[in-house]
Amino acid sequence: MLHVTDLWKSYPGADGPVAILRGVSLELAAGATLALTGESGSGKSTLLHVIGGLDSADRGTVRLGEVELTALDDVGRARLRRGTVGVVFQQFNLIPSLDVARNLAFQARLAGAEDPAWTAVLADRLGLTAHLRKYPEELSGGQQQRVAIGRTLAVRPRLVLADEPTGNLDEDTGAAVLALMLDLVAETGAALLTVTHSERLAARMDRRLHLAHGQVSP
């Protein structure tokens, strides 16, 4: 489902461009889960951003099913982000001006794929039913991350990208949130690629890859 081939990405540095990704290739089947580990600054988030259409690559291709993401323009990538790919951020990145109910449904509505019944199921499963009228600032970190997961899954994406999804949560909350996410992702049949430092999280995935010096290795 996801085919990443020979991906290169560099950023300008004080002494010229700094290569972050050096020919990364990986594949992920539908419904499969993959953990991407690596040191801080190894380029995990950059890889995730390129795969999610949030950033562009210097070279190489990213293919999602039949769509070659790296060939899309800004509008095409935005469309992809709305409906096909869902991203769960470490910082949750909820929309502070919208309440929980609207945050949950936001991406699905953007994609024109709102399914109120599914959103209600997600709210229930994520334990958010009692908080639907609250605003993000009124929620705990764990609750906010659950809203972010729900928002992503409400659109039934084919690929879920998670960037340190439990990195901002304490261990117990993180474990609970992770379990929920894995269950729900499995139910939607989406593939999951998660970037993490956590061994415990990585161990729950089908596969794991390690990113070092801009290259992945098992």
């Binding site: 950023y11 988030s45 951003h49 999610g52 949030l54 950033d55 562009s56 800004d74 509008v75 935005a78 469309r79 992809l80 982000r81 709305r82 409906g83 991203v87 951020f89 470490q90 910082q91 990145n93 909820l94 929309i95 502070p96 001006s97 919208l98 609207r102 449904a105 936001f106 991406q107 509505r109 953007l110 994609a111 928002r151 960037d163």
Partner: protein, 803 residues
């Protein structure tokens, strides 16, 4: 420790030079507009004082006719023979092609030189006292009068502006006061054995020395200057919104630094002291820049103000500006004061900030429900103050309290109104983007509130003043048509010529309407009494605003008089009351007429009654009714037939054009201040948007990540600002109309003595609305472009950085 603390505080500005520029520019602009108005006022006051000082005779006792009329010149001779140390003076205002001219006739042989030092300094030569005489005037006045048909003008530096001095016979001839003096001035102590005045003549009385002339001018123009001051204050307040916004933002952003400095051992007192010092330096720098800018603005506007004062009050003000120490010191003072006012809230918050307060900057000026409630309560209180000032407070000060309270209350209410309107919009929103747009716009209100309040004030002032000026223009144009019904006005050179003219004109015109008038003191202030014929020209056209039945019959029969609105309002005299006129102390008021643009009290009598009361009045002027197309030919014939100088004939169109030009110039300064205030408000929006745009990133990036393109986000940013500007405009509309009503119905009456009907000008509002939308969109263009062109890497930083 202090040095290290200061370095830490100042490093904020080094890293954010634009924010510093905003603060300095806001303060400089506010100071500039205020200082410009003060400079204009100061210059005008100096001119009034100079005029008062130059008219030395007013500083001495005067001997004048008991009935307030010009006195017979023979009385001067009689008094000199009786050893009275007196000198004759004639004061008169004559119409010239270059506008009205104040003439002062003096006798160089009996006048003490110190009474008119500037003029006497020039030395009087033989030409001054031999026909055709000379007139001495300030260079600017002489230049203005160059085209007028007058004796040779001698320009003398330092002479009071707007006045021309001439020898007694010269001025008598020009003013039509042959054989008469306005009054005599007592030039020295009475010699021993001097006969008392009452023994010489019972018709004269001694008026003790006063500052009357200068005082009158100052009193007449006080309201105009107060109006200017109010506008300056409004501009200053609008500028302070920018300053307050910039200071508030800087304080919020530096909150972590404050906490760290406190934690590292800097006392609260020292920290506040450092911040006060920092702000004082900024205030001095911005104040100095503002004063320089204000000087430029004042120099630019002063000629128009001078023209206004001349046209409206007959007061002459130098068109040039001097840099007075008191003025620039006051400018620096107001800059410091403004900074203190703008920073007071932030400093107070800092004073109360606990040492372990959260280090993360709160969202800038985040408006909590409680803050909104407080603002609404304050607005309610101010609305009550406005109501009380409207109902109970009299006078111009009361009117301005009403105005100020009204404007500030409206500004304080704005955020709550915007919240309500946006909540209403959110309720009707369909679709995720629309919902986010409304909700996000609502969230932006606190950050933009100060700028939007400034915009509200500027727009309301614009609508209010615009409505007043346009209402005035409409009324004034209609009034001119009514008032200037005669097609041609002609002034004879002598009474004999006037009689000949009348005889010659009767068969050649539809009507010859004598217009006699005398200057008179009415209720202690300068005024004029007119005698007019009973004719349909008056009956059909005269702009009466209140009258008894058969008003014109009463006037024609000599049983009643008409008075102008200024006199009616000042003395509260209305139809049925009795007015005190020279020689007729209980004249029944038959009607009141509008008399815009005239600072003097005026009464209108039937010609018969006028003749009986004022037999000495010059009978030189006529209004001629002819077919408009014949007016030019008639004027030419009068020149041919009687050798009348062209200046003695003024046709209706010419007066109308002149009056309208005076009118337009009158409002040049209000127009200019209006534009400047609106620009300041536009600048406030721009700076708020620019500073907010940096803080917007964390709010915009997630929406982008979820699939909205940068281009669409940028368009939404533009729409958001335009929407807020449009809502602010809608709020400003009723406030502006209320302001217009206060200006027309309260302030104009207090300031000028006339009340104007209010007209509405929806097309002007539409233009202003579009302008404000365009200004807001223009201000939002930069931040929107920034979003549209922002590299994804920068947006992604939001997800990487700890926020």
């Amino acid at each position: 420790m202090i040095g290290a603390g200061l370095a830490a505080l100042l490093s904020h500005w080094r890293r954010r030079p634009f924010q510093l520029l905003t603060l300095l520019l806001g303060l400089a602009t506010a100071t500039a507009l205020w200082s410009a108005v003060q400079a204009i006022n100061a210059e005008a006051r100096v001119s009034y004082d100079r005029a008062a000082a130059a008219l030395g005779p007013t500083r001495r006792d005067r001997i004048a006719a008991a009935d307030g009329q010009p006195m017979d010149a023979a009385l001067f001779v009689a008094l000199r023979r009786a050893s009275w140390p007196v000198t004759p003076v004639i004061e008169a205002t004559i119409p010239t092609r270059a506008g009205p001219l104040r003439l002062i006739g003096i006798d160089p042989f009996t006048l003490p030189p110190q009474d008119v030092p500037q003029v006497a300094g020039a030395g009087f030569d033989a030409a001054f006292v031999t026909p055709p005489g000379q007139l001495i005037a300030a260079p600017a006045t002489a230049e203005r009068l160059a085209a007028a048909d007058l004796p040779p003008l001698i320009a003398v530096e330092g002479a009071p502006p707007g006045v021309a001095y001439g020898d007694i016979p010269t001025v008598q001839r020009l003013a039509g006061l042959d054989g008469r003096h306005s009054y005599l001035t007592v030039t020295g102590p009475a010699p021993i054995g001097q006969r008392p005045l009452s023994e010489i003549t019972p018709d004269l009385r001694i008026e003790p020395a006063t500052d009357a002339a200068g005082g009158d001018l100052a009193r007449l123009t006080d309201s105009f200057h107060l109006n200017l001051t109010a506008f300056g204050l409004l501009s200053f307040a609008v500028g302070l919104f920018i300053v307050r916004g910039a200071i508030g933002l800087a304080f919020e952003q530096r909150r972590p630094v404050f906490r760290t400095l406190r934690a590292l051992g800097l006392s609260r007192r020292t920290l506040i002291g450092l911040l006060v010092g920092e702000l004082a330096v900024f205030a001095l720098i911005a104040g100095a820049a503002g004063i320089a800018l204000g000087y430029g603005i004042a120099a630019l506007l002063l000629p128009d103000v001078a023209a206004t004062l001349r046209g409206l009050y007959g007061a002459s003000v130098d068109g040039s500006l001097s840099l007075r120490p008191a003025w620039w010191l006051a400018g620096l003072g107001i800059a410091m004061l403004g900074t203190a006012v703008a920073a007071a809230g932030a400093l107070w918050q800092l004073w109360r900030l606990p040492l372990l307060a959260p280090a993360q900057p709160r969202a800038w000026a985040r408006g909590s429900a409680a803050a909104l409630r407080w603002q609404l309560a304050a607005a309610g209180g101010l609305a009550l103050v406005a109501l009380a000032a409207g109902l109970l407070g009299g006078g111009l000060i009361g009117a301005f309290v009403l105005l100020g309270a009204l404007l500030i209350a409206a500004a304080l209410t704005l955020p709550a109104v915007l919240h309500a309107a946006l909540a209403l919009g959110a309720r009707s929103a369909r679709g995720a983007v629309a919902e986010w747009f409304w909700a996000d716009t609502r969230q932006q209100v606190p950050g933009l509130a100060l700028a939007l309040m400034a915009l509200l004030l500027a727009l309301a002032a614009n609508i209010g003043v615009g409505t007043m000026v346009s209402s005035f223009r409409l009324t004034f144009t209609g009034w001119l048509d009514q008032r200037l019904a005669s097609e041609l006005y002609v002034t004879a050179e002598t009474e004999a010529q006037a009689r000949a003219l009348e005889t010659w004109l009767v068969p050649r015109t539809d009507a010859v309407l004598p217009i006699w008038n005398v200057d008179a003191t009415l209720y202690g202030l300068p005024g004029e009494v007119y005698g007019v014929a009973d004719h349909p020209t008056y009956r059909d056209h005269w702009p009466l605003i209140a009258a008894l039945p058969d008003v014109w019959d009463r006037v024609a029969a000599g049983d009643g008089v008409l008075i102008n609105e200024q006199l009616a309002r000042r003395e509260d005299l209305w139809p049925g009351d009795r007015v005190r006129l020279p020689g007729w102390p209980d004249a029944p008021v038959a009607g009141v007429y509008s008399d815009y643009g005239n600072p003097l009290a005026q009464a209108l009598l039937g010609l018969g009654r006028f003749d009986a009361l004022y037999p000495e009045a010059p009978r030189l002027r006529f209004g001629l009714r002819v077919a408009p197309e014949r007016a030019g030919a008639l004027a030419a014939a009068l020149i041919d037939e009687f050798g009348l100088p062209p200046g003695n004939m003024i046709d209706q169109a010419e007066i109308k054009a002149f009056s309208l030009s005076v009118f337009e110039r009158t409002f040049t300064i209000t127009g200019a201040l209006n534009v400047l205030t609106l620009s300041v408000a536009g600048f406030a929006i721009l700076t708020s948007l620019l500073t907010l745009s940096a803080m917007r990133l964390p709010q915009v990036a997630p929406v982008w990540a979820l699939g909205l393109t940068r281009g669409r986000l940028a368009r939404l940013e533009l729409m958001r600002t335009a929407l807020l500007a449009a809502l602010t405009f809608l709020c400003a509309l009723p406030v502006g109309l209320l302001l217009a009503w206060v200006l027309l119905a309260v302030i104009n009456v207090e300031a000028f003595g006339w009340r104007l009907p209010m007209h509405l000008f929806p097309r002007d509002w539409a233009v202003l609305g579009l302008l404000s939308l365009a200004a807001a969109a223009l201000a939002a263009l930069g931040p929107a472009r920034r979003i549209a062109r922002m590299p994804p890497a920068q947006l992604l930083k939001v997800f990487a950085d700890e926020r």
